[in-house]
């Protein structure tokens, strides 16, 4: 029983990281209709920036968190303005190819700007173990799960109640009609990229704190993408929960079946779920009415 609970907790913790990145995918998809294949790389860059801040400026966790979020927002805005906006109105396929190109460039930039060795992002927090009965939980694990849940609630309220949130949904559905209503699609897209980059960046910092920083971190994006598909590409909240589901499934399969199953289990679940609900667990079926 204790083993199960321990597996569940570490599954939820890693799932929360997948969930955050999955939400970052979904935010961009929901407002621009694009899948950003550079999401994992953006996550990695922000984590490296956080590490640089911690080793050069200050190791204070708040300073690092603030600096990382600012860097993430800037990264998102710059990518949107320089790379994505000129692609506005071009075929989706070309635009997605651009994000793949961007991914490769960002990935290699780690080696140019930093180096190829693993580093530890040690901010002096997150590694303490809290004991609840006989079960040990690291504070970092509690923090990442809490962050995910708070962001899920916050983003849900944002899309549901704020004018800008509703405008993002409107632009995603029909950007030309949104233009006719005076909604500036470029501004909405810029905001989506900034928000998505910030969410993914937070995930990257949490990951680096719990595990390690390395040039292979971009693979987080590949792990999180299935969570987005599972939850529904257009469902930001579903993506967050999809991340948790994949994290837990992976851990249970790894703990009870074999460690080799850990890699496979998540994808196996996706195949089964998509056969039953092709638009994801929480995704919206297209409303067709003429």
């Amino acid at each position: 029983m204790q083993y199960l609970i321990q597996l569940l907790i570490s599954g939820l913790a890693v799932g929360a990281i997948y969930g955050l990145i999955a939400m970052a995918f979904a935010v961009i998809y929901k407002s621009t209709g694009l899948v950003n294949f550079a999401q994992g790389e953006m996550t990695m860059i922000v984590a490296y920036v956080a590490w640089t801040i911690s080793t050069t400026i200050s190791g204070n966790v708040f300073v690092v968190a603030f600096g990382a979020i600012v860097a993430a927002v800037l990264l998102g805005l710059v990518i949107e303005r320089v790379v994505m906006r000129p692609m506005l109105g071009e075929p989706v396929f070309s635009t997605v190819m651009v994000t793949i190109g961007l991914a490769v460039i960002l990935r290699s930039s780690i080696n140019f700007i930093w180096d190829a060795y693993p580093h530890a992002l040690d901010l002096g927090v997150g590694r303490h173990v809290v004991r609840i009965g006989s079960i040990g939980v690291r504070t970092g694990q509690i923090a990442v799960i809490t962050t995910l849940l708070l962001l899920i609630a916050g983003i849900w309220a944002f899309f549901r109640y704020s004018k800008f949130g509703i405008a993002m949904r409107a632009v995603a559905a029909d950007d030309r009609t949104a233009l006719l209503m005076g909604i500036s699609a470029p501004r909405v897209h810029g905001f989506a990229w900034a928000a998505s980059s910030a969410i993914a960046g937070i995930a990257g910092v949490f990951f680096a704190m719990s595990y390690d920083l390395s040039p292979a971190m971009f693979q987080l994006g590949l792990k999180a993408f299935p969570a987005t598909i599972l939850g529904g590409l257009d469902a930001v909240l579903g993506s967050g929960l999809g991340g948790l589901l994949i994290g837990v499934t992976e851990n249970l399969a790894g703990g009870y079946v074999s460690s080799g199953m850990k890699e496979v289990a998540g994808f196996l679940m996706i195949i089964i779920v998509l056969m039953i609900r092709p638009f994801g667990i929480f995704g919206e079926r297209d409303i067709e009415r003429v």
């Binding site: 109105g89 004018k163 949904r169 559905a173 030309r176 233009l179 006719l180 005076g182």
Partner: protein
């Protein structure tokens, strides 16, 4: 292109004699640097009236509306020549959101409500450029005009009937607090009874809300019944314009648009007429 028993309208002085709230002057619009959609069109929409813009598919009606709303660029279209002015100021290089702020809005062809948003959220998006207080005030007006929208305000727009969606699309455009409202084929795909309702509303917009309306229609009968002045567009040119009574009396308009039969036509004249007819209806 139109032969008629009446004095030919193009012998009238050019339409620049008519002054309007919205004016297209010698407009030429080209898509993709190659396709000339509008050749040389001058149209004036005077304040407080309904101006009809009639013509068959591909005549360039929607292109003019896109130019008016500043969204030609989304389809690689460009205003090559001429100008568009609104209340005396040139507006042809303004961004779409600025045009909406100045009071120009259109209800696009096919209604295009945001399907996954509720009716209330759709209306809020119409008021995007306005303050929260203005949105509340304007929403009351729209609900007054369309009680049905109030009843269903929390429902998903995509599941409404075509007529209700058209009303929502008009309501959403009204949320921008426009001075000039353009409607692109509001009767398209709707049942005759529903079209009656829509046209009652359009008349109300002019008479009660004092709006200026630019009405684009293929359904000439309906449009001529309501508008104060009309232009007929054919392959990118204005071929005929005038008050509706004058257009309705024109023999070609009667036959091609109003569906009255041109009885008593014979011989060569009929053949030529047939050719023109084919052009018109193609």
């Amino acid at each position: 292109m139109i032969a008629s028993s009446q004095p030919h309208p193009s012998s009238d002085p050019p339409t620049s004699a008519r002054e309007g709230m919205l004016e297209f002057r010698n407009v030429r619009i080209v898509y993709d640097n190659a396709i000339e959609a509008i050749r040389d069109v001058s149209i004036a929409v005077p304040a407080g009236g309904i101006v009809g813009l009639l013509g068959s598919n591909g005549a360039g009606k929607s292109t003019l509306l896109k130019a008016m709303s500043g969204i030609l660029y989304t389809e690689e279209g460009r205003l090559e020549n001429g100008s568009i002015s609104f209340r005396g100021a040139s507006v042809d290089s303004l961004a779409p959101d600025e045009l909406v702020r100045r009071g120009i809005v259109q209800v696009p062809e096919g209604r295009r409500v945001f399907p996954a948003l509720t009716i209330d959220e759709n209306l809020q998006m119409g008021g995007y450029t306005r303050s929260a207080a203005e949105i509340r005030e304007q929403r009351e007006k729209v609900f007054g005009l369309f009680p049905r929208l109030y009843e269903r305000r929390d429902q998903i727009a995509g599941y409404m009937s075509g007529g209700e969606q058209q009303m929502l699309a008009i309501g959403r455009a009204l949320m921008t607090r426009p001075m000039l409202l353009a409607l692109d084929e509001p009767s398209l795909g709707l049942a005759p009874l529903i079209i009656d309702r829509i046209y009652e509303v359009i008349a109300k917009l002019r008479d009660e809300l004092k709006l200026t309306v630019l009405l684009v229609e293929q359904n000439a009968q309906r449009a001529l019944d309501i508008c104060d002045y009309a232009y007929i567009l054919e392959t990118g040119r204005v071929v005929l314009d005038g008050p509706p009574c004058k257009l309705s009396a024109n023999q070609d308009v009667q036959e091609f648009y109003l569906g009255m039969s041109g009885s008593g036509r014979k011989s060569m004249r009929e053949v030529k007429h047939y050719k023109r007819r084919k052009r018109w209806l193609s």
